[in-house]
Amino acid sequence: MAEKHKAAPMVDEISDFEVLEIAVRELAIEKGLFTAEDHQLWSEYMETVGPLPAARLVAKAWLDPEFKKLAVTDGVKASLEVGINWITDMPSHFGTPSDYCNLRVMEDTPTLKHVVVCTLCSCYPRPILGQSPEWYRTPNYRRRIVRWPRQVLSEFGLTLPEEVEVRVEDSNQKSRFIVLPVRPEGTEGWSEDQLAEIVTRDCLIGVAVPKPGKTATDKRPVHPAINPVDH
């Protein structure tokens, strides 16, 4: 084993907020507000929540005009059809401050493209979309998408023509947003399952548009290391 490859720690410090979270959590456990087991159950549950129900909702809306009408006017009611109850299910439950129970489904058209952000911090429709990606919470994305939306979308690989209106949704009060993108060409006759596959998380946030053949389970590119570690 070569001495020169001394492993550096993956994370060499934790942020003040992480310290705060640990302190509050341990206090709450000490005070008996919840137990360590409760906390673990919750954490594990949260990791199982993902964007599949929202993808299903979009696929249903593409196939059924009546359902689309319902989704656009009452997102909470429409969510029931994909198995998400915003009012009674975790994680929103009775409306914890970070997950209010109002879902708005924003419909794109060929001349209107929505993109969602929370400039306040990280409001995100977690019951139907799971945990937000790391970049969604960064000041970089939050500051720039409201001011230079086209440039930021280009960085995601989405360059939009002039005649398309870009509408940024700043989701910082009690509504949570998902985007209902335009159904792409080349998907005629597809089943609901096939359609749901191409509605990725990024399409639902609005930084991408669905494309036939582009799914969340695509193979990731793997490149050989230039200077492989000898072991």
């Binding site: 909470v76 915003w86 009012i87 009674t88 929103s92 439950h93 009775f94 409306g95 209010y100 129970c101 109002n102 708005r104 400039t119 306040l120 409201v146 001011r147 939306p149 086209r150 002039e162 209106e165 870009v166 509408r167 940024v168 949704e169 700043d170 989701s171 910082n172 009060q173 009690k174 509504s175």
Partner: protein, 122 residues
Amino acid sequence: MSKTHFDREHHVKKATDVGDPQCFKGEAGPAKFKVGDRVRVRDLPSLFYSRTMVYTRGAECTIAELVYESPPAEDEAWDNCDNPEWFYSVIFHQKDLWPEYPEAYADDTLETELSERWLEAV
């Protein structure tokens, strides 16, 4: 608020199985604005807590939807649910928020939600 005993669970009791903001439905009284009205975002002082972004202050926008009734964030931050207000979804032209926004994209917009106290008729 001269409550001798403050019920720390009042919100949980009210919102469980009903939802928030659904639990404040019907409490805000008549709405001051309607869809299509032109309004301006007031530049009120916001001590301690607010959700009204600085970049929206003083800018004109159009009411797109009356979304729900709720105590404004400034009150709710202190667990005060006594005065629910109407919340409006408003749409700005990017040009009105950022003077240097490119002319070529004059149609681009931004939508956000604000409570009634933050809006005044133009």
